[in-house]
Symmetry: C2
Subunit: 221 residues, 2 copies
């Protein structure tokens, strides 16, 4: 194999191992063995475990960011629901690695890994603003979108810890949460109110946003 | 000064420095100078910067957890709003140290600091369950409470980054967010619906929960 091909193979092997156990628990020896090469050869391509981990994380980050991309067509609620499905696919596939990374700690908290996590959050933020058709967000919209992204992370982490709630329910719940957090902000601020009215105006009766309003109305009654 | 007295003084000096600049940027030299003692004497009490940082974080964690404690009297919305006021006081007082810790990174991500952060989150979680009168939470309630705690953290972090929204507005918003996330879960799940109805039944007309319902009704109309 060529250098780049071998590097890519090792990254794939490492990601596969991190999808089953925390990166802390995966050794270079085990990676070498799973790739069918010698330990010194792994070090030839990656000077240490951190550099292999960072390369694997880079690939996972690119993969996740790509799953956020959704055509700008149709109602927003349905778009967000499709993205949530792909997001939970990713979380499902990379469970232990995702948990270890997001829970932080010395083994995974290099400045490079932090920058990668920040870049994925930024990609999610940029996508949401693009779908909302907003290029210069007011502070309250930025707060709602960024804090909802952290809510989506914590929801996924809690789901991974025992999977006690069906993921399909949580995918819908996160779409509802987005609408609810936006509505809370809109209830205090006219600019957010105008944005919410514009978004809801394009929602179909069978979409997740209108579904939420109906369910909340039943609950209130 | 006695040993424990001197340790407590150094912790206080360090916390004061971390309240103005990120812990990464505060040296042992500077801490020694601010405390009016020699650098070797600091090392006599704390073997390295990490141990001083961890001791300071322990005191800050105890301080924050104490602010979560609220008498079990009166409507829940008003209790939560008072806690949010004290939470933002803390965030305001410890801005740069809080940001550095919560954004993670090698300088602040030891297993001991992670355990301290987890213990503060657990203290918040335990307090909320106690106020709700629930000792054996269903998975959906645990998810709502824990994910709301992470929303409160991200909201505080975003607020610290430029303070572009008045903190009093965000204190109310987080109380509303808690009600909204609970309502979203209640809209899908009967057990959560029963819990929400029980909580709302005790809320006064001028409390933050009823205020939110009124505002959302106006928005929907």
């Amino acid at each position: 194999m060529g250098v780049e091909e071998r590097r890519q193979q090792l990254i794939g092997v490492a990601l596969e191992l991190f999808s089953r156990r925390s990166p802390d628990e995966v050794s270079i020896d085990e990676t070498a063995s799973a790739a069918g090469i010698s330990r010194p050869l792994v070090y030839h391509y990656f000077p240490g475990k951190l550099s292999l981990y960072e390369a694997a994380l880079q690939r996972a980050a690119d993969d996740l960011a790509a799953r956020f991309v959704e055509p700008a067509q149709g109602p927003l609620g349905a778009r967000l629901l499709r993205v949530m499905g792909r997001y939970f696919d990713f979380v499902d596939e990379h469970g232990p690695g995702f948990s270890a990374l997001m829970r932080g700690g010395p083994a995974v908290g290099s400045s490079r890994t932090n920058a990668l996590v920040a870049s994925v959050r930024q990609a999610a933020y940029d996508q949401i603003l693009a779908h909302l058709g907003v290029s210069d967000p007011p502070a309250r919209l930025e707060l709602v979108v960024r804090s909802w992204i952290s809510l989506a992370e914590s929801t996924a982490l809690i789901w991974l810890d025992g999977r006690r709630i069906p993921r399909a329910e949580l995918e819908v719940q996160l779409v509802h949460d987005f609408a609810a957090l936006t509505a809370v902000s809109a209830a205090q601020d006219e600019e957010m109110g105008a944005l919410l009215r514009r978004v809801v105006a394009d929602e179909p009766a069978d979409g997740p946003f209108v579904d939420l309003v109906g369910r909340l109305s039943s609950l209130a009654a």
